[in-house]
């Protein structure tokens, strides 16, 4: 195990996580904390108080775009980036010609920054990629764009999520009214208990179904800021959160995980992400024809969410059954820590019932478990609307 871990990338917090006894695992080429305490405890802390995530494995890529190169960049995603004003972000995907999802991303149009170091790195546009796809995303952009890309490796990423996230930031001199609105990004100054202060980028985004932020932090301040967040957040119920709870949280929010729920074999239409596809006539993008055909014919797979009442937990690759026939496959399944029963997501064939309330079965090892389709998400917090 040790030798396997030693070849992996580490976030700036790797030594810190190990020193507090986190269970470390390989994930997408990185050594990451799976859990710090118990998965359920971590999960419920995010739902009821706050959680701090090390997501330094995700890729931060910046680029400068003029009008012509913005057109070329916009053709890589089914969103319409041309409408994005500085300080705003969108959830989107890179698609192949078949409309299959190469990766899902958040793209930020950065605002003007005042901190000189931060603005050197973060001007123009920012793409946040999944760790496992960062290299492929960079290659894809390089293949289609003639502008230089910068992989920002002197900065790392934390997520601070949960109802008390803003109270935690308040202890660092960040007032609630300074926070960017949902799917916006802003530069904020953070004051440590020691009196030191530095600038970070704060994005009102996340992967938990809770309100919260993702923080772009200079690596020089990463360890001291992390430790201060844990210390200052503890009285508010904040816990450090590992990948295991990150997965159970995102599953309750019905957020897809690339490589599992979405892959180059599934399109945003099939994945229930059609809301993120913009069909304006002049919005030409790679994969548009394939998506358009699926939209017109409606002859495509459907991404569905299931509630189960028993104690059998469906897992990735389990077969979805209807009237004795295999009609689909599970892509994610777990117990819902908030709801107390098993939940799953997956795809069913075009002709299979897929409306909320429809009852299908999932073959879980030797058990045929009844699974009721439900609308997504499984769990939703009372979000502040941006």
């Amino acid at each position: 195990m040790q030798s396997e871990l030693s070849t992996l990338c580490q976030t700036p917090l790797g030594p810190h996580h190990r020193s507090v006894g986190a269970k470390m695992v390989p994930f997408a080429g990185w050594e990451m904390p799976l859990q710090f305490s118990k998965v359920k405890e971590e999960h419920l802390a995010v739902r009821s108080a706050a959680g701090l995530f090390d997501i330094g494995h995700m890729g931060l890529v910046t680029l400068q775009l003029d009008e012509a190169s913005l057109g070329a960049f916009n053709a890589l995603v089914p969103q319409d980036l041309r409408k994005l004003t500085p300080g705003k972000a969108v959830y989107t995907q890179f698609l192949n010609e078949r409309g299959g999802i190469i990766d899902d991303l958040i793209i930020y149009r950065l605002p003007e920054l005042s901190d000189s170091q931060l603005s050197d790195a973060f001007s123009g546009w920012l793409v946040i990629c999944n760790a496992s796809n960062t290299a492929e995303d960079i290659a894809w952009m390089q293949q289609h764009l003639s502008v230089p890309l910068k992989h920002q490796t002197h900065y790392t990423l934390f997520a601070l999520q949960g109802p008390h996230f803003s109270a935690v930031l308040d202890r660092f001199g960040v007032r609630a009214e300074q926070l960017p609105a949902r799917f916006h990004v802003a530069e904020l100054s953070v004051k440590l208990p020691t009196g030191d202060s530095f600038s970070i980028l704060v994005a009102r985004t996340g992967y938990t179904g809770e309100d919260g932020v993702e923080l772009i932090v200079p690596i020089a301040f990463a360890s001291v800021f992390w430790a201060a967040l844990i210390e200052q957040g503890a009285p508010l119920g904040l816990l450090p959160i590992g990948l295991a709870a990150r997965d159970t949280l995102r599953l309750e929010a019905a957020y897809p995980l690339h490589g599992h729920d979405i892959t180059p074999d599934y399109t945003p239409i099939e994945a229930g992400l059609g809301w993120s596809v913009k069909w304006a006539e002049d919005n030409a993008f790679i994969g548009r024809d394939a998506l358009n055909t699926q939209k017109q014919t409606a002859n495509h797979k459907h991404f569905v969410c299931f509630n189960l009442s028993g104690r059998t937990i469906p897992r990735q690759d389990d077969t979805i059954m209807y009237q004795g026939k295999a009609v689909g496959v599970v892509t994610s399944g777990s117990i819902s820590m908030s709801l107390g029963h098993p939940i799953a997501m997956g795809y069913v064939d075009a002709s299979t019932p897929h409306a909320p309330g429809d009852i299908l079965q999932i073959q879980v090892r030797d058990t045929l478990a009844e699974a009721t389709i439900t609308s997504r998400p499984f769990y939703s917090a009372n979000r502040i609307k941006g």
């Binding site: 799976l34 859990q35 118990k38 998965v39 359920k40 295991a244 159970t248 104690r311 059998t312 937990i313 897992r315 777990s334 117990i335 879980v364 090892r365």
Partner: protein, 130 residues
């Protein structure tokens, strides 16, 4: 529990990571090793047999679900189930916390006590569990 990974002396184990903790001559408790619980991660559900059921060595006596995986449980010896740890229904995490103690799963009456000799000693098991 800090020493929950230490295998007690009166425990014998299987290659499938179940243990038999022998409390007197023909009574024993069955569970899974601390190593197995660590590998599975946080356990969230457990299915156990009914009291009175007779189960042959090697047959499944239940299953456990962790956050990340499911696993069947195999009888280390042929036996009759005389008690079930019902506390695990509410607190399956006891298996992670203290698998050889409060995390026991079933108590059994051995059909053929000689079968115990076919199981691994803690030292032998430690060779495969790392």
């Amino acid at each position: 529990m800090a020493d929950s990974h230490i295998i007690p002396d009166n425990v014998k184990l299987t290659e499938t990571h179940e243990y038999l903790r022998i409390d007197d001559d023909d009574r024993a408790r069955v569970g899974i090793s601390h190593f197995a619980a660590e590998q599975l991660g946080d356990i969230v559900f457990i299915e156990l047999p009914e009291v009175g059921q007779r189960i042959e060595k090697g047959d499944t006596f239940g299953s456990i679900e962790s956050v990340k995986a499911a696993s069947d449980l195999y009888m280390p010896v042929s036996a009759e189930v005389v008690a079930v740890n019902t506390q695990l229904t509410e607190e399956p995490e006891l298996i992670n916390d203290n698998s050889y103690g409060d995390g026991w799963m079933i108590e059994i009456s051995l059909s053929n006590p000689d079968e115990v000799n076919e199981l691994m000693t803690p030292a032998q098991y430690s060779q495969i569990a790392q």
